[in-house]
């Protein structure tokens, strides 16, 4: 796998981050080193899968609960129109 400029730009697209040129350059230099380090994990044999003694899921009751801070939340909107968040056009 090769980390080049177009791959970094592609990840930026997926992550919804506009990357400036100097950021792209820095990431093209840094990401391979980091991925190379974490890539050593490939050598760890995990078969057969251990049981993990995992924590059981704890679903809660599916109940409607009142939200008492509706207005405070709406007040945080960068662009509020009455009780709506106004957003730029999607298309």
């Amino acid at each position: 796998m090769k980390i080049d400029e177009s791959m970094v730009q592609g990840l930026g697209e997926l992550a919804r981050i506009e990357l400036r040129d100097e950021e792209t350059t820095a990431l093209v230099e840094q990401l391979p080193k980091i991925l190379d380090y974490v890539g050593h994990l490939q050598a760890v044999d995990t078969a057969p899968p251990p049981d993990g003694r995992s924590i059981p899921n704890a679903p809660r009751a599916d109940e409607v609960r009142p939200a008492d801070h509706r207005d405070a939340i709406l007040d945080q909107a960068p662009d509020r129109l009455e009780d709506f968040w106004r957003v730029p056009p999607v298309m």
Binding site: M1, V8, L11, G12, L14, A15, R16, I17, E18, L19, R20, E23, A26, L27, Q30, L31, K33, I34, L35, Y37, V38, G39, H40, L41, Q42, V44, T46, P49, P50, D51, G52, R53, S54, I55, A58, P59, R60, H69, A72, I73, Q76, A77, P78, D79, W85, V87, P88, P89, V90, M91
Partner: protein, 484 residues
């Protein structure tokens, strides 16, 4: 007399004897912040409301009410814990305009037992870092040597206590962010078992690893602050209904017969030999107290760091997707259309380390790489968990260094992200294994504090605090104060 070295028990004694009031105590710490924090940079916000809260404690006591566990105790809160009506930045510019719309469960529980919340503390942006240098707002300096970092990501909380500006502080620990700054500032720092303390209102970094815990000067105070926060919360489905151990009685037990394991992987490559020597001396102390030292092993512990730096960015990239400039926080609306708002807001709002981790996480979760990276890392995590289970069949606690290195000068690791990540080497395994771990003062090297780490089996905070209290009871490292 009021001093920054008071324990919670001493505060309560003083309040009962009317040596001082809760309001006087709060005023003392507010003025300590005013005079000292210019040089230390621990606080992002100071709460004037602390005086009102302290007055309420005094009024209760005057009315003859009995003392609650944290009545009058000035506590600082890491600024990734949401507080209603107040700024909560997580150290990021993207949250600069944000005001909390509710209060985190852990903070609410402190309020409920009388704590006085004195301010909100600096951190690495979104808790990503080991030095507090990635905060978008300010550096935080180590009171033991202000040319050095205080550790991170909860550096502000550590320095609030170590710098004499709070009695206790709250941090969050995803891979060592409480324990490592505690070690760097000569404090006790405790990460509970995953599921002990509610994460409701903690701005998520990596949801399967994050836990909230205390910074204090003493093990006994750490237990008190932890117990006030711990326990089931319906707003966090991962909190356990298990009863919280009676740590006060656990701490009265001697460590005679306690099996203390020394896992060899935590004393090897990448660990400063001087730190190893300090921790070996601490092991001898445990032996003198009647504990049995046992050679132990967590074979895949050295792979913990790589495991962590796949799982953490993956979870973080997903958690941070919510910061998009639409519903709250910074919103940059210069381009055409929704996608531009996302892209520009996240470019301006996030700093370099946050972007780097989002990119790594996006890669580790992307089609074609997810199995080799993210899913494989989770399988290695399960292997590591199993190795801890097996180790704890032979021992009651594990003893290791907290940090492989001493505090470093500002900027020394900022150019090379991997160097910074290596600081987490010895602390991430406990998060990956969900187990409780504590760092306590264990000595000094060239005038800089060194912490030892104890880990115990899942839910076994009792043995962890039993061991930690016994060691602290036999040593005086924690009574040493920084020059500032």
């Amino acid at each position: 007399m009021i001093s920054a070295q008071l324990t919670i028990a001493e505060i309560h004694k003083g309040l009962k004897a009317k040596d001082f009031s809760a309001r006087e105590l709060a005023s003392h710490f507010l003025s300590a912040i005013k005079t000292r924090d210019k040089d230390l940079g621990a606080f992002l916000a100071v709460r004037k409301a602390a005086l009102v809260e302290a007055q309420a404690v005094d009024d209760r006591l005057a009315a003859g009410e009995s003392l609650r566990p944290l009545d009058g105790v000035p506590i600082a809160i890491k600024d990734n814990l949401v507080t209603e009506g107040e700024r909560t930045t997580a150290g990021s510019k993207i949250l600069e305009p944000y005001r909390g719309t509710y209060t985190a469960t852990a903070v609410q529980r402190l309020h409920d037992v009388g704590a006085v919340i004195i301010g909100k503390t600096n951190l690495d942006e979104f808790a990503m870092g080991a030095s507090t240098e990635s905060s978008a707002y300010q550096p935080t300096r180590n009171p033991w040597n202000t040319a050095l970092v205080p550790g991170g990501s909860s550096g502000g909380s550590a320095v609030a206590v170590a710098g004499g500006m709070a009695i206790a502080a709250i941090g969050s620990d995803t891979g060592g962010s409480i324990r490592q700054p505690a070690a760097f500032t000569n404090l006790v720092g405790f990460k509970p078992t995953y599921g002990r303390v509610s994460r409701y209102g903690l701005i998520a970094l990596a949801s399967s690893l994050d836990q909230i815990g205390p910074f204090t000067r003493t093990v006994a105070d750490a237990a008190k602050v932890y117990q006030a926060m711990a326990g089931r919360d319906d707003n966090d489905a991962t909190t356990s209904p298990k009863p919280i151990d009676d740590l006060a009685s656990a701490m009265k037990q001697s460590v005679k017969g306690l099996r203390v394991g020394l896992p060899k992987e935590f004393f090897g490559d990448g660990v400063d030999p001087k730190i190893v020597a300090v921790v070996h001396a601490a092991a001898k102390q445990f032996e003198r107290l009647g504990a049995t030292l046992v050679d132990s092993s967590i074979p895949h512990a050295p792979q913990g760091l790589a495991t962590y730096y796949i799982i953490l960015p993956a979870e973080a990239s997903s958690n941070l997707a919510r910061f998009d400039g639409i519903r709250y926080g910074l919103s940059v609306r210069v381009g055409r259309g929704l996608q531009e708002v996302y892209r520009q807001t996240r470019d301006r709002g996030f700093g370099p380390e946050v972007k780097r981790r989002i990119m790594i996480g996006t890669f580790a979760l992307s089609a074609g790489y997810a199995d080799a990276y993210y899913h494989h890392a989770n399988r290695v995590r399960a292997v590591l968990r199993e190795e801890f289970h097996q180790a704890f069949d032979q021992v009651d606690v594990l003893l290791t260094p907290t940090s492989p290195m001493l505090p470093w000068p500002f900027g020394a690791k900022s150019k090379n992200p991997l160097q910074m990540y290596l600081a987490d080497l010895l602390t991430v395994p406990a998060n990956l294994a969900n187990i409780p771990a504590i760092s306590i003062p264990a000595g000094f090297i060239d005038g800089l504090p060194v912490g030892l780490q104890l880990m115990a089996r899942e839910w076994d905070e009792a043995n962890l605090f039993r061991a930690a209290a016994a060691y602290q009871g036999a040593t005086d490292w924690h009574t040493k104060n920084p020059p500032i």
